[in-house]
Symmetry: C3
Amino acid sequence: MLDQPFLSVTIELLDGLGTVAFAVSGALVGVRKNFDLFGILFLAFVVAVAGGMMRDVLIGATPPAAMHDIHYFVIAMASGLATFFWYPRIANRTRLLQFLDAIGLALFAVVGTQKAIEYGVNPVMSALMGMLTGIGGGMIRDVLSGDVPFVLRADLYALAALAAGSVVAVGTLVGIPSIYAVLAGTGLCLFLRFMAIYRRWRAPLPPSAAIRRPEAGD
Amino acid sequence: MLDQPFLSVTIELLDGLGTVAFAVSGALVGVRKNFDLFGILFLAFVVAVAGGMMRDVLIGATPPAAMHDIHYFVIAMASGLATFFWYPRIANRTRLLQFLDAIGLALFAVVGTQKAIEYGVNPVMSALMGMLTGIGGGMIRDVLSGDVPFVLRADLYALAALAAGSVVAVGTLVGIPSIYAVLAGTGLCLFLRFMAIYRRWRAPLPPSAAIRRPEAGD
Amino acid sequence: MLDQPFLSVTIELLDGLGTVAFAVSGALVGVRKNFDLFGILFLAFVVAVAGGMMRDVLIGATPPAAMHDIHYFVIAMASGLATFFWYPRIANRTRLLQFLDAIGLALFAVVGTQKAIEYGVNPVMSALMGMLTGIGGGMIRDVLSGDVPFVLRADLYALAALAAGSVVAVGTLVGIPSIYAVLAGTGLCLFLRFMAIYRRWRAPLPPSAAIRRPEAGD
């Protein structure tokens, strides 16, 4: 894992902040979809832990970390309750939430990739597992609330996570000290997210988009 | 696990009855959504086993119990076929189905929590795993049939399961004989479900519900 | 597993062709739903591996084979990119795609059933795991793109996979050499799919379909 206690503490702190942003994103969807208090807290928790749980199940690290470690639960409950009671005030902090969410995405992707590598997963799949850690919670949130997962359409969200994971996977492969790989991966993810938010960078659409037929059987 | 053979047999019986209700709830959705025979049986089976399978995967009890034990399969097929052939007659037994469903929910939650505790999961997550055992099948049913899971919005359904799981988890923690914890948890779950059905008890909605903006970015 | 190297190579080849068809089916949905390049590749990959991953998680074969073996990833990326750039041309090859897809379905079901049996799963659940291997990717594709999984309503798709799995499971049970069970299962699956496509064979609808009430509570 990480060889430096300071880095380790910083990462846990950022991971906590990211978890807050993830949980709030779940709770906001719950409020907007008219879920009750339970549904709101449930979505908050799901966004916070589902990505990591899917990763752990897939890499064979069962039971998943979130089963032992209730700090995700506590953070999710607190974030969900805050959103429940102060919905408009929290929902209006769009920029702050996007910023924290980008941090969460970067951290989850970086730490998720490292964990997959530790479990002997090959580098390509490790980077994908890092991405899954970052985007999995949001995907489940969207599916449960009846939406097509927004990560499939927009905003370099998943790609930013995958970029972070790839940097860590390549870094590990070529033997760079993990602190540099972590910093570079996190930085790249944040950069891509901010370019997506402020400059509207996007992944390309299919060249056939203009001439596509509305529905083609299958 | 349970220390008394009589309790153990009673629980298996109630578990079977609950499984019938769960499978029927899946088959009813299948009929209403115009699925064919296969789709109807598939949904019946999914509701009966998906919650327990998710729990087992998450607590590391793989392969899940339902992989060895085909009585869930048999119950689900019989319930699904009955619903297929006698749809209106079965669908009209709303009260009976709600009663059996409440029993299934309570039993799945109680037994699910106990199993998680046996596997060394901490009490908070064990109660949540009990809840997942109870509500997981219905959530997958709703997602597969294109609905937002109703447990996220209504009826104290998940909360009743969580209450049952919490009673068992706390009971185990303070060392109460499991028979009392099981009975108390089951009773509380049934009580909450009946209050939800007959007295329309609900979990609270966000205070901001009245002033909520229709869509707020993100 | 398989006792004959020639059969083994043939199966790997057909498995690869089937994976192409599965990945293309994911990418086509992505293009039609206006996903960007990332979303398209993601769906292509999901259809190719999700069924096998779910099977492996459920039978306790973690980490799933797809975590070690990146040839699914490579096939999915190539198929997804081809679909991205040449959408109309590929989408128009309906018959070829249906043919390859039927091969993929049969192979995934047969190989999935064999793997479950090897892991000690009972025959009934092994056949179901074979079916899940075949249909799981398509189900996740449909859920992620906001549709009700088409396997729940149509075309003997899942039933053909289940038939293939059942033949293999029964064949193993009665001690038939695996090559015959594999050939018979594959043949039956292909036959059922072609009858569904060309003769419109269907699973039965509930007898109550005509007299069904539009919505019946619960």
